[in-house]
Symmetry: C2
Subunit: 215 residues, 2 copies
Amino acid sequence: MWEDGLCSPNQLSDQQVPYQGETCIERALTMKGSSEHGETSKAAPLGRGVSKGVSVLDLILRFIAIIGTLASAIAMGTTNETLPFFTQFIRFKAQYSDLPTLTFFVVANSIVCVYLILSLPLSIVHIIRSRAKYSRLLLIFLDAAMLALVTAGASAAAAIVYLAHKGNVRANWLAICQQFDSFCERISGSLIGSFGAMVMLILLILLSAIALARR
Amino acid sequence: MWEDGLCSPNQLSDQQVPYQGETCIERALTMKGSSEHGETSKAAPLGRGVSKGVSVLDLILRFIAIIGTLASAIAMGTTNETLPFFTQFIRFKAQYSDLPTLTFFVVANSIVCVYLILSLPLSIVHIIRSRAKYSRLLLIFLDAAMLALVTAGASAAAAIVYLAHKGNVRANWLAICQQFDSFCERISGSLIGSFGAMVMLILLILLSAIALARR
């Protein structure tokens, strides 16, 4: 822009230079504008790199959460144990659908898993377009709702699993884990994936918020 | 700034005006800068009004959530029922601490209530300084964590309350609500505030995200 050497940015601000006519003022205006753009484009590569990193981390956490919820749903959903004996109280067979809370656990984890899979394309779009705003807001809201759902499923199941292990003397609810040993191990283990997904979703909300703040 | 009438913005861009020396170029630079600020300040009042509205709504929702969690904790914490008779299985007296899950519910609600009260000053600061960034990020993260905590407490208690009402034939857990009628009504009712606070926290996360996006 300054190839004619008559109206350089330094000269404009620091020295009394020979005047080059109206074009120099126009250039001064253009120069001011372009130098501002220049500053932002200097700072941009670092900022864009961090934003891209945040978006990639978002995608990775989503994958981990998908694996967690899927594993939880499958582990719980395929649980059943048939005993070689029966007593007056305990039935021959235990499976997750005997306890409505465990059914809710499977349903909640399945819903969150499907949501997370559906959110993957949007997450990939955010890697490419790191300045996206409304789609991030939508993701934060849905992530928060899914966080509530997966937490509800996991903690309700945990309450029942705790009861199955310990029972409750006051309410006269007997622990069933003496009889259904492998059933109890399975339903306890299947909680892990769900609580893992819970932590991932909290981090996902934080990451989306950071990406919004960095825009 | 243009009171001398020698170097107006219109003249600078549209007409060939008599040149006023180096000062005019410097003014052109200043003018360019100030007109950019002028554009943002034109758009600002509306945006600032909306941001302030979002911050005020944030404060109101926090108050509602405080009332919800406090009511839940108190309603559950003060629950006890003494029966005028006793059977072989059921004790004379039922109170929330008989069931560990209900104790967790009281603790979780108390923690979230205290957190929400402590977050009020920050929420008020956001009404005044609507461009705050890091404090909003902190609030989003803590809100998400507290959402998980209050949901965990509420849904675990709900699982136990459901069991108290319906019992479970397969696990041979008998419903205790035939005996402890008012106890069951109380623990069921105390869930409402907690689930209300859950919804409020989801909305609080969304509001903070909107405020971050609008900055």
